[in-house]
Assembly symmetry: C2
Homo-oligomer: 336 residues x 2
DNA sequence: CTGAAAGCGCTTACAG
DNA sequence: CTGAAAGCGCTTACAG
């Protein structure tokens, strides 16, 4: 046990540990770093010295020579896109579940004003070992820039333009198809859909997967931006043009939630009059009333996988890029 | 403009900048750090050399001598308590809004297994300059331990046991009173309340503030844990014992949301039959149908303030502890 | 205002 | 298996 009073004492260095243990600084360093070749008795002596002095290594000094920061960045979209979306909290939890225990620091950043420059310079100056990019805009130059400088990067979805990058995604197309099949099995035939932003791969793929499965190229649809507000406006528009609709697929749970509010406000019952299917299986799905039938993507697992892949790339920056694609599943609840 | 090809070139050091500029390393360092006393022409020369070489300072080396990590920790509750609660995302956003632009790293941690040890050692070894503690349990030994070691700490609420610590809070008691006054002004007289956990200051203070204002010591109540699920169970219990109730105050929006689901399921209309008031004004309030009348605490602003206070403490660790208490406001929407 | 020099606390070839 | 020594890239008194 270390003397608790030592906790607030002056910084103790390896030098001191070595002195107390009667060995060289090099040997003390080897014990601290678990180098296997150290003699057992010496190891014990050093361990005692460490405990007695309450030594903790200075990471900056170590970092200076190892050139590792033991920190990775998690880059989220702009601050304004975070509000009210449970997706990001889930991503954070998933990443944390693998990063936390490893002792590596998880540094959070949002894509605001000078974040791009900061990411690049943090990586270059060895303050960050790698970054996870969440929902980076398709024409953001950052991913390519990082890849070209050979910095470890993992992205949260297939980039719209081909790029030799490691990413994790869910099979969005299959997810859209799952929603369509469910609605068709319910014998709904006046179906509409609120698509996600068509400038994102998720928005595009969910939409085409859905359309291909229903096999109706003229299916009415509008484009939302994944938020609840856009779900509401979209629903209003669709209802105006197609008052007789009997099913809606929204490409996000939040949009489905917004749609349900509007449906109820217009006196329609869910699911009796209109069946509603969402996408994500976020916490918003359970907050719906009735609870939302939705296409589940295992966000926390996906985020954990991103963290693992990044750690692997940090360990071996020249490994070829990897892609991991998860399968979506349909979660049937009350709304359809 | 720096030569883009330099971006991926070998690491360039201050030494090299100095050589290119024809000055000493010390002077180059002064320019990099914006020391005012450097001659204007020399400054320009160094600046040119920096641009030409694409120099970025090695933070580890700087950190080693300045003993500053330029990183602060944000310690959230255990991972399991994060899920589905929009509060934490708002805190993160608020903290980020002041930390982000400063170039200081925001390191995220959750109160899991070995986090306490890691926080202490990160602080001691100079890997973190200070920490913000969010909703730390009242009998967690960590805050006291950090305070005693004189590490910069800011907490998100008044500690239950007296502690010379800097914290930011909202006047919870006043918030409870606000809810009570609104319900009374609505002439509701069969009021019940779903309190927050009584082992937290927020749970206690909201409850006593509410009770004192309604001036009815026998008011029926149950204790939830701020989650939607606990709101549902609590509502079921209260309804069973008091089927004629006409108003409920829930100490969190999430609990209010759960309560509303149960009310609707039992055929009661909100607000006609039962008025509902929540607490937080989180994104969940708008997701309710009807939208929730709630006591707003300005979480993002409070989090930003915590960040500012922490930065101040890092700059001057011996300053006396500060307390900042925000005023809650009532936001009237459809539910009451 | 500027420079030479010491020093921050570690790791890691290199000898032995 | 261990130690002496060099070196990682900065900052900062201290002289001048």
């Amino acid at each position: 046990m270390s003397d608790p009073r030592r906790t607030s004492s002056k910084r103790v260095t390896l030098e001191e540990v070595a002195r107390v243990a009667g060995v060289s600084r090099a040997t003390a360093s080897r014990v601290v770093n678990g180098v296997a070749t150290v003699d057992a008795t010496i190891r014990a002596a050093v361990q005692n010295a460490i405990d007695a002095t309450g030594y903790v290594p200075n990471l900056a000094a170590r970092s200076l020579v190892t050139r590792r920061a033991d920190a990775i960045g998690l880059v989220l979209p702009e601050e304004s896109r975070l509000a009210g979306d449970p997706f990001f909290e889930t991503v954070i939890r998933g990443v944390m579940s693998v990063i936390g225990p490893s002792g590596v620091h998880l540094v959070l950043m949002t894509m605001d004003t000078n974040t791009r420059d900061q990411v690049v310079s943090d990586l270059r100056r060895g303050r960050l070992d790698g970054v996870i990019l969440i929902h980076t805009d398709r024409d953001d130059p950052l991913p390519r820039q990082l890849i070209e400088a050979n910095h470890p990067v993992v992205m949260s979805s297939r980039p719209l333009h081909p790029l030799p990058v490691t990413y994790v995604d869910v099979d969005q197309t299959a997810g859209g198809a799952l929603a369509a099949q469910h609605l068709m099995s319910l014998r709904r035939n006046r179906i509409v859909t609120i698509a996600g932003p068509q400038h994102t791969s998720a928005g595009q793929d969910r939409h085409t997967g859905f359309l291909d499965a229903v096999a109706d190229p003229d299916l009415p649809w509008t484009e939302g931006d994944f938020t609840r507000e856009s779900g509401e406006t979209s629903m209003v528009h669709l209802l105006r043009a197609h008052p007789g609709l009997d099913a809606v697929f929204a490409a996000s749970d939040l949009m489905a939630q917004g749609a349900m509010t509007v449906l109820r406000a217009t006196g329609r019952r869910v699911p009796q009059d209109v069946a509603v299917v969402g996408f994500d299986d976020s916490s918003a799905a359970l907050a719906c009333d009735p609870p939302l039938t939705t296409v589940r993507q295992p966000v926390a697992d996906m985020a954990a996988e991103m963290a693992r892949l990044l750690l692997a790339r940090v360990a071996d920056p020249d490994a070829p890029p990897t892609r991991v694609v998860f399968e979506p599943t349909l979660v049937v609840r009350g709304s359809a």
